[in-house]
């Protein structure tokens, strides 16, 4: 399985539909050997287990628009090859691989950027790739995407960021050292809003840890149909067996990402 990231792609014809899908979401349709992603205004992406991703861009789509969505097709392609991924960021924290998962727009990138600014290497911002047994956390993204207000809050000049998509204000930044793969040690979960002070607690129980991981898979609705339930379970059990799962509770948005990063550091002395 080719685990290079970002995935290779080429301009090629892509059908509008796939016959006899085994699973689909609003954007992604999957058969046993192909995945079709349709992004309005951007284009259609077709992935197979091997080879580059075929892209048929919309007329006004830019190169940056296409590259922005390669992750959607790329993670689906890995699923076809039997490799699930987690929706999340990841850092190498004192030699420990730590995945950070959270709700959409929930602050994972901000926390990752804050950790990077404190000297920890970024392994992922969007696609956390964990393979092998014992599980190894591999590097995917080398940038962290931040919206302008968060870049300001972290004193990062927005002028140094790469444009992610011309239509979006967020920028991608290279921050911190550049680590290689490290053993997975923990998955940190950022919740939505909850009452109470900010705390970091351990999730006990292998089944509960596995359930937390299943809820954070890329293409969660496609994993079981494409991977099969046993393989999905084996992967989650392996990750949950090797990694601590830590959950933040409390009103995280009251806390500056740097203060949150300090709390994560405390857990990995």
């Amino acid at each position: 399985m080719d685990l290079a990231w970002p995935p290779a792609w080429r301009l090629a014809p892509v059908p509008e539909r796939l016959p006899d899908p085994v699973a689909s979401t609003g954007v992604v349709t999957a058969t046993a050997d192909r995945v079709l992603c349709r992004i309005p205004s951007v284009g259609r992406f077709m992935a197979r287990a091997r080879g580059p991703i075929d892209v048929r861009p919309e007329r006004r789509a830019t190169d940056a628009d296409v590259r922005c969505f390669l992750g959607v097709a790329g993670t689906a392609r890995w699923l076809l090859g039997g490799v699930p991924t987690l929706r999340g960021a990841a850092v190498a924290l004192n030699g420990a691989g730590v995945v950070i998962c959270g709700p959409a727009a929930g602050g994972t990138s901000a926390l990752t950027a804050a950790l990077a600014l404190r000297g920890h290497g970024v392994l992922a911002d969007r696609v956390a790739l964990v393979t092998g047994d014992p599980p190894l956390l591999r590097r995917t993204d080398d940038e962290v995407q931040l919206w302008p207000d968060m870049a300001d809050a972290l004193d990062i000049p927005s002028t140094v960021g790469r444009v992610v998509r011309p239509a979006l204000a967020k920028r991608a930044y290279r921050l911190g050292p550049e680590p290689s793969a490290v053993p997975l040690r923990a998955v940190v979960l950022l919740p939505g809003t909850e009452p109470g002070p900010v705390r970091l607690t351990t999730v006990d129980g292998a089944e509960e840890r596995s359930a937390e991981l299943h809820g954070r898979e890329w293409h969660r609705r496609l994993v079981a149909p494409l991977l099969g339930k046993p393989a999905r379970h084996t992967w989650a059990a392996s990750v949950a067996g090797a990694a601590r799962v830590l959950r933040f509770s409390g009103r995280l948005h009251d806390l500056h990402p740097t203060a949150l990063a300090a709390k994560v550091e405390e857990a990995f002395p």
Binding site: T25, R87, A104, A105, K170, T193, E194, R221, H253
Partner: protein, 273 residues
């Protein structure tokens, strides 16, 4: 009888109460505020990302609007013996952000806009003036000026009148219009059609029990004991007063008149003037 039963309303019009009643009607048990029927609003970024399979923060608001009906189709496909309940605050416009094909029906909650303004001011931590302005801004959306994506994608509200008429007068699927004030005055007959649309077969006695379990005082007590995740950080409480006509005690007369000037026609139609 599958598809989506939309629990639709302008914000601060009693949607959570409706969901609590339906939750109690379905379970026959006490209400758990963390497990309300139709819990995640249709504009929830998390829910949409799960249904769509793409990070919505990579999409523009216009692109998300185009994809949202497809998310409903995916959600509705999972509905089996009874409709899927989904809360929504978006207006129903000429180009709806919901899937009409996936819609089973809608329950539309309407409330006196003067009470809506008061409730919104407390809920959102804004002045009465600002709350009234929001009810009157043509083509209003939320969030108004996002610095970055929030927990919900952009929602189109329109004015209060646009919102009400958009849902109530559409003819593409059945809609039951439920006046908040009627539900307060005589809840069992008011909620009964909503419960039937949800596919729950309840006697009047069972529905009365569900209404008691979702009584405002009960919900307020649950919130005070265990909290409620939908309470915004700046609001003291989510369940504040839950009564009709409270605007007379709080809303300055000039602001009440401004609402009547702007929304008088629709207010008259629904018995508020």
């Amino acid at each position: 009888m599958t598809g989506i039963l939309w629990l639709a309303s302008y914000p601060k019009s009693g949607n959570t109460w409706l969901r609590a009643v339906l939750t109690a009607a379905r379970s026959g048990a006490d209400v758990d505020l963390d497990a309300l029927a139709g819990a995640a609003v249709a504009a929830s970024r998390d829910v949409l990302e799960d249904l769509l399979g793409v990070p919505t923060t990579d999409l523009t608001s216009a692109e998300i609007d185009r994809l949202r009906p497809g998310a409903d189709d995916v959600a509705a496909a999972a509905a089996r013996s009874e409709p899927l309940l989904r809360k929504i605050h978006d207006a129903f416009g000429a180009e709806p952000v919901i899937s009409v094909a996936a819609a089973h029906a809608a329950v539309y909650l309407v409330r006196d806009p003067r009470d809506v303004a008061v409730s919104m001011a407390h809920h959102s931590g804004v002045s009465f003036e600002e709350a009234v302005r929001r009810l009157c801004v043509p083509h209003a959306t939320a969030p108004l000026h996002p610095a970055r994506p929030g927990k919900q994608v952009r929602q189109y509200f329109g004015t209060w009148s646009e919102h009400v008429l958009g849902w109530v007068d559409q003819r593409r699927f059945p809609v039951y219009v439920l006046r908040y004030e009627d539900a307060l005055a005589d809840p069992v007959p008011a909620f009964a059609p909503a419960v039937r649309l949800a596919g729950f077969d309840l006697t009047d006695e069972a529905l009365a029990a569900a209404v008691r379990r979702a009584d405002f005082a009960v919900l307020a007590d649950l919130e005070s004991r265990s909290g409620f995740r939908e309470r915004p950080p700046h609001a003291e409480r989510f369940f504040r007063r839950g009564r009709a006509g409270g605007w007379r005690d709080e809303l300055p007369a000039a602001l009440a008149e401004r609402i009547v000037d702007r929304h008088g026609e629709v207010m008259t139609r629904f018995g508020y003037l």
